[in-house]
């Protein structure tokens, strides 16, 4: 049987750009690219003509002018004589502070709530379900405003703590005072403080650095001891006793550092009409932190619950059949598998929390949006530059958080061979 193969027609026709699958995708891409570039060119053209009509260009020079406004909470040195760039830095650090505190607290609360929601305790499981559903289904803004209102309206003024029979009293063994303006908490003070190390625009607190170094060192030492124990166990079959070494490695260095610094807790006490000593945290920070924590924790609880539910019962049954105790079953079998499901959505919750911290505007907490996107923008009138910078900074922060968490995600990911 003769097979007639038709020679493909040589040459290139214009129609092939559309009808030939080899070229069609290139055609589509070029058309899309042209349309997008046309759109962008149109926007930029409009922007330039608008700016020309206003008689100004894009200029970030305003960042080096005197800011001239005060910020109620600053992590680094700042006065109203500082520059707008400095104010931006203060705002960024405040954003990072609330994001950091919020992520940690939300993880703790969320994990507890998620695990308790799965508990076979009827009361607790129902209670957690109610908590999760209420917080998930009501806007975050409402929680921020509501908690802030509780602080400003329901708590007493500092002078209510005065007198022999005060109208209000401190809580937690007389160490914490909730007032309608601030929350006074105890704060560690160092008798032999190491002072500050100037590093360009930032000053490094050497006390803090020493504590962090001690913590990290202890953690690394602990890991080394555990690895060594595992190595010995693999070689000889016997696992050396490590619990006292680990305890020493984890807590020894930090204890020594705190001792060397002469650490003591400074509790707030009432002097006249106000509290002195300790640390006075503004209510805007506490309310924002609580609201972000409780709101995000409700989402994290759902993620944790889904993660644990995703592990089939057979896994824990198999672990029990191997004779593992419940604690080791959790650590060695359930958790490593559940984490794999939990981590990716957890990352996006951390990102959401960081972005939601921009709602600080509702309670007057001076975060990045409050300084750069708020007062700086209004004072200088440089809306375009300020908003572009604001978005860029948020974008970088988001990308940094997600890439850091992705590194962790990769380390717990299923290693397929």
């Amino acid at each position: 049987m003769a097979v007639v193969t038709e020679e493909p027609k040589a040459g290139f026709r214009l129609g092939m750009l559309i009808y030939d699958t080899r070229y069609r995708s290139i055609t589509i891409q070029i058309v899309v690219l042209m349309l997008v570039m046309l759109g962008v060119a149109w926007l930029i053209d409009n922007l330039l003509s608008n700016l020309a009509a206003l008689g100004r260009g894009i200029d970030f020079g305003f960042l080096w002018n005197r800011a001239g406004y005060d910020i109620n909470q600053t992590l680094v040195e700042y006065t109203n004589d500082s520059t707008h760039a400095r104010a931006t830095l203060v705002g960024l650090l405040n954003t990072l502070l609330i994001a950091f505190l919020g992520c940690i607290a939300a993880t703790v609360v969320g994990v507890i709530a998620g695990v308790l929601r799965l508990s076979n305790n009827w009361v607790i499981a129902r209670l957690m379900t109610v908590y999760v559903e209420i917080f998930r289904n009501i806007p975050l803004l409402l929680w921020i405003l509501m908690i802030y209102t509780i602080f400003t309206e329901a708590f007493p003024a500092p002078n209510a703590f005065r007198g022999d029979t005060p109208a209000a009293s401190m809580v937690m063994f007389d160490t914490v005072a909730f007032t309608n303006r601030y929350t006074a908490i105890p704060w560690p003070m160092f008798d032999r403080s190491l002072g500050w190390l100037p590093l360009g625009p930032l000053w490094l607190n050497l006390d803090l650095a020493a504590i962090v170094a001690a913590l990290v060192g202890g953690f690394l030492l602990n890991r080394f001891i555990l690895r060594r124990a595992t190595r010995i166990q693999e070689a000889t079959g016997d696992r050396p006793t490590t619990w006292w070494q680990c305890t020493l490695a984890l807590f020894g260095p930090i204890f020594l550092v705190l001792l060397a610094l002469g650490t003591h807790l400074d509790s707030p006490s009432l002097q006249g009409f106000n509290f002195t000593g300790g640390l006075q945290v503004s209510n805007s920070l506490v309310a924002l932190w609580l609201a972000l924590t409780l709101y995000t924790a409700a989402f994290i609880a759902e993620i944790v619950r889904a993660g644990i539910n995703a592990i089939s019962r057979g896994q824990s049954e198999a672990a029990f059949a191997l004779g593992l105790r419940p604690g080791r079953t959790m650590n060695l079998i359930i958790l490593p598998q559940a984490l794999r499901v939990i981590i990716p959505p957890l990352i996006s919750q951390y990102l959401n929390l960081t972005k939601n911290s921009s709602l600080a505007i509702a309670v007057g907490y001076m975060d990045l949006r409050g300084t750069l996107g708020g007062i700086t923008l209004n004072q200088t009138g440089r809306g375009l530059e300020a908003m572009m910078l604001l978005m860029l900074i948020y974008l970088i922060v988001s990308l940094l958080i997600s890439s850091a968490m992705n590194v962790y995600n990769n380390s717990v990911k299923l290693k397929e061979r």
Binding site: V32, V123, I124, M387
Partner: protein
């Protein structure tokens, strides 16, 4: 028969005995569910203490509710008269008195029937989308509802929405005319190009001309007069309706093999997901004028809706991408083997399955979008939560009222968001086809 060797055999059954007290009824349930271990016992007691603390704290306040009063001081007077001096109570009279404001903001009061009618029609339009037991013909109404709703809410000449809808008819006509002559691809181009040209250049003059010939118009309402829950619903529902298709397109773009399309989608999605919604809203209110031709004045609600749609679409794109990635490779290959082209494969094989997997994520994005409508207060619109409540509190009558408005608005949001999440569960179980 030798009695000494015969074994004893019971000939009748013993009557059933009641189970031990600890193994039956309420006691068993309490033992198993509340006090199965020491830790559980402690947790139970703690839980009950927390609930009791909350109830004792809130119930007396709630039980002393006042529904009829003209101001907060009058409210407090009534509470003092009824329950004695020094007690506090809930003053729901503020909701009762400011009810229209919470629902309609500063919408002209003689026109309240229009948003109400729009809401009723919205229910009619949404019903066939949500429940497939309703007649399919109702979907036609759902399709034209956006124009109807727009006209009812904003008013103005009827010809503006009619001409906008006419654009779609023109697109359809373009396909019908061009396809037999020039083939599918040119027809598609014509279907996109003709309506866009119509909307840009002809729809406005045509509407004006028809208005001068046959004037049918409702009294116009400006966007700044919108507020309260009609604002939240307008932004929320428009956002939901438009972000889903855009999100699906973005997800397809991100999954596409075409380099440029892929990178553009990725860039767009990552940018939107990396910045807070507030900054986008500020961009819409402060900066959009820089990017539009000089002299353009763009409706503020429309700007906000566009930003909300873009924001939600990026999140939906990620959710749908997850659904697409979860589909086994074989589904794509099977579609190819059947000879389906890209769009047919997407429409008949891929999307029905991918969207089904993504339902929970999509609905929670919608819930997030609806909750985020409260953020429009920061660009000067009167959302029910902060905008209207601040306006209410600014009057001397209701100065100093805090909890009642928050609880009321929170309850309404809870109702709708919780309803949406329950509907998504219903949809999931209805569409479930695996036999587990």
């Amino acid at each position: 028969m030798n009695t000494s060797t015969s074994t004893f055999v019971r000939t009748e059954m013993l009557p059933e005995q009641a189970p031990p007290l600890t193994e039956a009824g309420a006691v068993k349930w309490v033992r198993e569910n509340l006090f199965s271990s020491i830790l559980n016992g402690i947790l139970t007691v703690l839980g009950i203490v927390v609930v009791a603390y909350l109830v004792i704290g809130i119930a007396p306040w709630l039980s002393r509710s006042v529904w009829n009063a003209g101001s907060l001081s009058e409210c407090r007077q009534i509470i003092a008269d009824r329950w004695g001096e020094g007690v506090t109570g809930a003053c729901w009279a503020v909701i009762r008195e400011r009810w229209p404001q919470y629902l309609f903001g500063f919408y002209p009061s003689h026109l309240y029937w229009r948003p109400v009618l729009a809401f009723v029609l919205l229910c009619v339009a949404v019903a066939p989308v949500l429940f497939d037991r309703l007649p399919r013909k109702m979907l036609w109404f759902s399709l034209i509802y956006p124009a109807v709703g727009f006209w009812l809410l904003w008013g103005g000449s009827v010809w503006v929405p009619v001409m906008a809808v006419a654009g779609f008819a023109i697109g359809y006509a373009a396909v019908k005319v061009v396809q037999p002559v020039a083939g599918t691809i040119l027809a598609t181009i014509a279907a996109v190009l003709a309506p866009v040209l119509w909307w840009l250049f002809l729809a406005g003059p045509a509407a004006d001309a028809l208005q001068s010939i046959l004037p049918i118009a409702l009294q116009g309402v400006r966007s700044r007069e919108f507020g309260g829950f009609i604002l939240a619903f307008t932004i929320g529902f428009t956002g939901i309706a438009f972000s889903l298709p855009l999100g699906v397109m973005l997800a397809l773009g991100r999954q596409s093999d075409m380099f440029i399309v892929n990178k553009l989608s990725v860039g767009f999605i990552e940018f939107i997901r990396g910045v807070p919604l507030i900054t986008l809203l500020f961009t819409a209110s402060l900066l959009l004028n820089y990017f539009l031709p000089p002299g353009t004045d763009f409706d503020i609600i429309l700007r906000v809706i566009i930003m909300v749609v873009l924001f939600a679409a990026a999140y939906i794109a990620e959710v749908v991408r997850g659904g697409l990635a979860a589909l086994p490779r074989g589904q794509y290959e099977a579609a190819d083997a059947l000879g389906l082209d890209y769009w047919k494969a997407q429409r008949l094989i891929i999307m029905p399955q991918a969207l089904k997997i993504s339902i929970p994520g999509i609905v929670s994005t919608f819930i997030g979008l609806f909750k985020d409508t409260t953020l429009v207060v920061f660009v000067g619109l009167l959302d029910p939560l902060k905008g209207i409540t601040d306006a209410v509190r600014a009057s001397t009558d209701w100065k100093g009222i805090y909890w009642e408005p928050y609880i009321f608005v929170g309850a309404i949001f809870f109702l709708f968001c919780f309803g949406m999440s329950r509907y998504s569960m219903y949809l999931e179980s209805k569409l479930k086809t695996d036999h587990r």
